[in-house]
Amino acid sequence: MDDKTLKQLTRTLLLHAKGLGLPIGAAEVFIEKSLLTAKKTLSSHSVITENDVTRAVAKELRKYNSDLAYVYQNRDKII
């Protein structure tokens, strides 16, 4: 994951976090931690798909907030 993707993901996740009514300060901290861990996990992969990113980020987010992980992972399947 490059910096551009990370920034975009952070923006998207913060939007979802605010929509879910989570405290923004706390959300910023655990989103950053989750993305860094997900980046580390994915760095060993030779090919990374969008699904890999979604799964890895959602897995990390679930440790801090299950609602945010759920909304992020299912954002295309709500309707």
Binding site: H16, A17, G21, S66, V71, D76, I78, I79
Partner: protein
């Protein structure tokens, strides 16, 4: 002419429409994004515009179908016969099966619906980018049109049945239909206002999937049955 049968048909049609999931799903997604980008007050404001869009769509389509049916029946009164009722009843039977098998996509953890994925992604992107009340209104209006494949027969049969009764109960029934059909949107708005979020609302929609699938399919079959029996009654 009894007022009861047309009113029962209209109430069942309105309840079926209220249970359909595309508009409430889009609304919950839209409200979530609106809360993510704006204050609660602005999101509330936008949500009313969305609901207004759905209501305006409903009213517009009712008036168009009303005019068309009025034109057809004025010129060919005999067309309002058993043949028409049998055709409508057959459509409802087909809708019952279509709803049962195709309305919800497969997947236990997903509330994805029958619409093509590209359209769903477009709605998602549209809902995310809403900045003004008119955007919200247009999204509500457009969402109403996406479910026409299931709602159009409901509108047609409701209007045909309402044409059998006098003007005052007809107007009351139309208002009643629009209120019932948009009640889930007010209910979701209220859920958001009382602290619930998209994850909770979506999970509850997923839990209700089997119930909705069965009840709406049975609702369509019940409508077909009532139409046939009432038609036989009307025509002796």
């Amino acid at each position: 002419m009894s007022v009861i049968t047309p009113l029962i048909i209209v109430v069942i049609a309105a309840l079926i429409q209220a249970f359909l999931q595309l508009t409430p799903g889009t609304f919950s997604l839209f409200y979530h994004y609106a809360l993510g980008k704006n204050s609660t007050k602005v999101a509330d404001d936008f949500s009313l515009s969305f609901i207004l869009g759905v209501e305006v769509f409903l009213t517009t389509i009712w008036l168009i179908i009303y005019s068309l049916i009025f034109f057809i029946f004025c010129n060919q009164p005999s067309f309002c016969s058993e043949v028409f009722l049998w055709i409508t009843a057959s459509i409802f039977v087909a809708e019952a099966f279509a709803f049962f098998f195709f309305y919800f996509r497969k997947g236990r953890s997903s509330s994805a619906l029958f619409i093509p994925r590209q359209i769903a992604r477009n709605i998602n992107a549209r809902a995310e980018k809403i900045k003004t009340r008119s955007d919200a209104f247009t999204l509500g209006f457009a969402t109403g049109s996406l479910e026409l494949i299931f709602t159009l027969p409901l509108y047609i049969i409701s209007i045909v049945e309402l044409m059998r009764i006098s003007a005052f109960p007809r107007i009351i029934a139309i208002i009643f239909y629009i209120i019932i059909a948009t009640l889930p949107l007010f209910s979701i708005r209220n859920l958001y206002r009382t602290g619930h979020n998209l994850a909770e609302i979506t999970r509850s929609r997923i839990r209700a999937k089997t119930f909705l699938r069965l009840s709406i399919s049975l609702g369509f079959l019940l409508l077909a049955f009532i139409i046939i029996t009432s038609g036989a009654f009307h025509h002796g």
